[in-house]
Symmetry: C2
Subunit: 410 residues, 2 copies
Amino acid sequence: MSNAPKINPDQLWQDLMALACLGATAQGGCDRLSLTEADAAARNLFRLWCEDAGFTVRVDAMGNMFARLEGADPSLPPVLMGSHLDTQSPGGKFDGPLGVLAALEAARAIGRTGTRTRRAIEIVNWTNEEGARFAPGLMGSGVFAGAVTLEAAHAAQDRAGDSFGAALKRIRYLGEEPVGGREIDSYVELHVEQGPELERTGTTIAAVSHSNYLVYITVECLGANGHTQATHFATQRNALLGSAKALVEIERIATTLESRAAVSQLDVWPNNRVNVPHRTTFSVMMVEPQKEKMLALRGQILAALDSIGTEMGLTFTIRADATREPVIFPEEMVTLIEDVSKDLGHSVMRLSANTGHDALSMGPICPTALIFVPSRDGISHSDYEYTSPDHCAAGAEVLMHAVLRRANRT
Amino acid sequence: MSNAPKINPDQLWQDLMALACLGATAQGGCDRLSLTEADAAARNLFRLWCEDAGFTVRVDAMGNMFARLEGADPSLPPVLMGSHLDTQSPGGKFDGPLGVLAALEAARAIGRTGTRTRRAIEIVNWTNEEGARFAPGLMGSGVFAGAVTLEAAHAAQDRAGDSFGAALKRIRYLGEEPVGGREIDSYVELHVEQGPELERTGTTIAAVSHSNYLVYITVECLGANGHTQATHFATQRNALLGSAKALVEIERIATTLESRAAVSQLDVWPNNRVNVPHRTTFSVMMVEPQKEKMLALRGQILAALDSIGTEMGLTFTIRADATREPVIFPEEMVTLIEDVSKDLGHSVMRLSANTGHDALSMGPICPTALIFVPSRDGISHSDYEYTSPDHCAAGAEVLMHAVLRRANRT
């Protein structure tokens, strides 16, 4: 095994820090929303690094980028590994880039051995995982897996009315390759946990067994406008005040049920000092492992909206209502991550995913594994996101060996 | 008195309805924010009507418009009457335009008699009374009265970053006349009540005796961003949830004190579904007749912000803090409105003002009167604002005769 591939931890860390320069925030994070100039710069640099390592990059009509390490038998479907280079605004240095750059370093390490794997291996950078500029997230992988149409994705608009399709073309990443529609042997993704469990338990690696219910509801609240100063609160049909009561009630319900619900987005019309707000929209997100509890959480929240509406003369209407059903990863893939971790001497545990990942898009179309490494203080979607160089390297090692086993299996 | 001037109620109503076509909303209101194309159109039409009636229009460097009916003694300071043509978004047909168009019809009626008043009379359209696009409101009259500098007003920006000065120039209403700095005999303004008292008591006219304390506080709330799904509400330093709690608490405090406080403006960062909001700003408005109660209201609200901040790990910081002290109109001016109303056979009562008016700018620099006529259901700053033709005409008659007595007095 003197020829066993070895990732270079320093190279991986150096690449992560270099990429973090693109869209860097003053607080040490990244603001690299999908299809912005910063995202374009990150893509260009990633392409250069792939080409420097001898991998040709192909781009599909969603801007998804694939760098292929050819296999001994090119007729076999490839093993994919990757994640995304876009971030939240602000986001950190690790959520997304770690999975792409660990895949790049793994591919370079395999390439350095001078041997071929049985199946080809492809590094992938999925477009718009975050959904922070163009909703919803998991867009590039969603179209690849056939869960979202190319037309719907290209028509998605940001708040300024710019379309995904136009922005993709403008940054020159509207590729010619068709999106998906080809056989994939398996998909392995490395990501930061974005939660506190690995750190709390002192574990290095998580093998993700499944995702939880993710429910997104967009609510419109209608009241009546008027002059803020001329009337008492009590006589106003104030959509903002009603929404504030709803937010407080949603917290109370989630806490009582020991479940998770959050409102992080709220828009107000006309949003000036002297007009009673006659309209708001807000999005409620719920995460819950158990179906019955998810239904209870959802039901109690909707009942609370009805009750506040009746009390205050407001109308709450559900404008969008999406449930992402749990994705259960195959036992063989979960075991693969556990086995590889143990063989490499890393502690490993099973976890479920509370957050969206491109692996959730891929799960339905091929055997998929999702690997987590620790997030300091459980923080992500933040300037202060941090995963240590050792944990990044450990994750990259597990990723590489899991992919090698998939690519070489007979 | 066969030569006594008489306003034409049909003409006044026709002018109100014609002006309401400019920036008309589908719901029957108006969206004519200051210095927009709709405001420019309203100004152009108002100027045309003034010139048709033989009055020359002058424009000052704030875009304030003055149409003068010369007096027998041009050396005496003029009596001003008017209000504003801009509206909220959405606003109605009456808040503002009634005072300007009643003044125009009053001036036409006086002109039709072929006699001259002792002092000149000027109709005025004040720029940006509403402050809905460029904050704060009462801007044109505020600069005229020396309460705001011309430089500060021109530098005010809307949400798109457009400056007041640039917008004023673009609509061609950056006039050459200096702003204010001249002696004014007195100012009389007709406005809709924007409250329910006249309707509730079946009274036609209010002589406004004074304004109440108006307190505006802008609050910034800072928390910490993060991933909404990855953490429980309970562990988030969620600035939006903290602000929602603050809004609910502000309502409770105002209701308990039988006073008025409202939040109508709230902005959230980064305002997307998967990021815990780390920052909000919101504006608290308070209206209260009594100083002690205003101080109690203010004190309890600030204490509530501190308490919520401590409980949730948030920082609430006051970013702007303005108190508009009560303006007390001279007894002679209040009595003038009462006397004229009674002489014309209209029921009249005294009221205080809970809302901002250009008359509050003018009060400190000349004897000022403010006349209210009923608002249906007390509604204003709304598409559904309505004042009947009879009430509009009654208000115009009182305005005209009050101005005549001021202009002709020896």
